[in-house]
């Protein structure tokens, strides 16, 4: 068993090494796979703030992923068609600037998380699961019905958005951008876990009545965790849209919400690096098994069943002991 901190470091170095190795061997597709894993990892790290630390089983995180995606899609669409975006009295021009898009994605998904959280957190347990699932589906149908932005067909963005000083069309540069964001968010999530807020949030998951009797409101802790969680997943959505240069209602689908939970559990819930390991494993499986059989999801299902029934703690739980301090 190795300490968790070393594992975190090793996994990130490994991910970076794969991308750099692919660059040297001139295999851009592998870089794209590594980017995909990085972005999914970011989304799952976001979910894990709510799920792992807060104990909130959100089956609707695709909502935030999709909102992040559509924030990118809508802004870039207006920029590429040179049409202003009219929001009542407000007129905004579109933009191709990644920082602006990211900020929009984060704010929009945080707001959505606040609204959904205010409603869903009035309940707990199974109700919470069903309600987040339902609200995720609401966004899915809304996106389908919203023909101004492509409806069911989605929106294509012709050229990847810009980041000052970088050529984002170069796979390795775009990977570097996503990877940096993942590292920053992991740093933030790691600090969060040990901060006063994280301590209280984790206690609210384990012993909510205790948290109340020391004068802290578990509901407010959970609400903020849900908002932070949604914001990070929203950021990942914006990157995912930029990776594919395409957004569609599929980003809101319940399957995606389920897959995000699977990433977290497969890697190891409540571990900092768990979701990253889960995302890497998922993308690898998808790629390797997807080559062998069209029906690889069956095997994912079987693997997941085995993990749930026999190996709680996920991959990280098998190889690393839990770090304290």
């Amino acid at each position: 068993m190795i300490p968790e901190r070393w594992l975190t470091f090793a996994v990130l170095v490994g991910l970076l090494a794969v991308a750099l190795g692919a660059l040297v061997m001139d295999r851009p597709f592998t870089i794209t796979l590594a980017t995909r894993a990085t972005i999914l990892a970011l989304a799952a790290v976001g979910l894990n703030i709510a799920l792992g630390q807060g104990g909130l089983v959100s089956f609707g995180h695709a909502a935030f992923f999709g909102i992040g995606g559509y924030a990118m899609g809508i802004l870039a669409h207006h920029a590429q068609t040179f049409t202003p975006l009219e929001l009542g009295p407000l007129t905004i021009t579109g933009t191709k600037s990644m920082p602006v898009i990211w900020l929009t994605a984060v704010v929009a998904s945080a707001l959505a998380a606040l609204l959904i959280g205010l409603l869903a957190l009035r309940t707990s347990g199974v109700y919470f699961i069903m309600i987040t699932l339902a609200f995720g589906q609401m966004f899915f149908y809304f996106a389908i019905s919203w023909s101004a932005y492509g409806g069911e067909d989605g929106l294509s963005i012709y050229v990847r958005n810009d980041f000052p000083g970088l050529n984002t069309l170069d796979p390795i540069q775009f990977f570097g951008l996503c990877f940096t964001l993942l590292c920053l968010v992991l740093l933030f999530a790691g600090r969060l876990m040990r901060s006063p807020f994280g301590l209280a949030l984790n206690a609210a998951r384990q012993a909510p009545e205790r948290v109340e009797t020391v004068g802290l409101d578990p509901m407010r802790l959970r609400l903020l965790a849900f908002v932070l969680s949604g914001a990070v997943t929203g950021l990942a959505g914006a990157l995912f849209a930029d990776l594919n240069r395409f957004v569609s209602p599929a980003m809101f689908s319940w399957q995606l919400s389920g897959e995000l939970i699977v990433l977290v559990i497969l890697g190891g819930v409540a571990r900092l690096i768990g979701p990253v390991v889960g995302a890497i494993a998922f993308v690898t499986l998808e790629h390797v098994l997807g080559d062998v059989t069209e029906f690889w999801l069956i095997w994912l299902g079987v693997a997941l069943l085995l993990v749930v029934l026999f190996a709680r703690g996920g991959i990280v739980g098998l190889v690393a002991r839990r770090g304290h301090g």
């Binding site: 089983v57 409603l119 339902a134 589906q137 149908y141 019905s145 069956i298 079987v302 029934l309 709680r312």
Partner: protein, 306 residues
Amino acid sequence: MSAILIIEQVLNGLQFGVMLFLMAAGLTLIFGVMGLINLAHGSLYMIGAFAAAAVAGATGSFLLALAAAMAAAAAAGALVELTVIRRLYAADHLDQVLATFALILIFSEGTRWIFGSFPLYLDVPAALSGPVTLPGGIDYPRYRLALIGAGLAVAVGLWALTQHTRIGIRIRAGENDREMIAALGVDIGRLYTLVFALGAALAGLAGALVGAIQSVQVGMGEPVLILAFVVIVIGGIGSIKGAFIGALLVGLTDTLGGIFLPEFFKLFMEPGAATQTGASLASMAIYILMGLVLIWRPTGLFGARA
């Protein structure tokens, strides 16, 4: 907008509602008795539809197809209960969600493996095809009217089962106190398998009945499953009565919202924008309804108060 159109849409809403009830009743029963959230309930709906389409294709008999749908779904439900689900009763909800999500993957991809990705079609039986003329001169599809009747019949049957039979008494006792009824010598394992199979059969029936007016394809179950969740959140977990009222509310809201909201916006918007806004809002109407119920009563209309 004519009265005929309104009545037609109300009937459509009722038809949609009673089919949702068949799904929601099983889910809420399983949750009430075993405390289990079953995401794979949509797969059982799909299994019912596929079994019906296969048997109808082979024999031409719609009744046989319905029987096959219920039998196949019940068998799949019992099998899953015996192998996987019963290990999950004591587990937390996250484990239940994950394991049943895994079951969806297995069932969906397995079905795609066997039947392929193309949709199958199940024909409305000849005796029920064509319209029927209702009082007031409204032509309405005979089959959809039959669906409403079938749904109501199942609702009455379920009510009678839970209120007036020995097995129903045991089910209700199981909701309240599982140790007690185990102590009284009821085989709780068999009771659970039975309840699960019953819920599965209802889902399979719904899948077959709806399969005749929509196409039968992989992934057909989950959208219905999620709507059934909305129904349960509105009605209150564990309450069959709540599931019934909730299902009708959701069915009517969804159907009528799609018709009336665009018309409503046309009163003060230009037609194109009104249609767009109305359609978008209609797609969210049932979730807004759910949100309002949550603000008013977080445990649903008929749920146990916290």
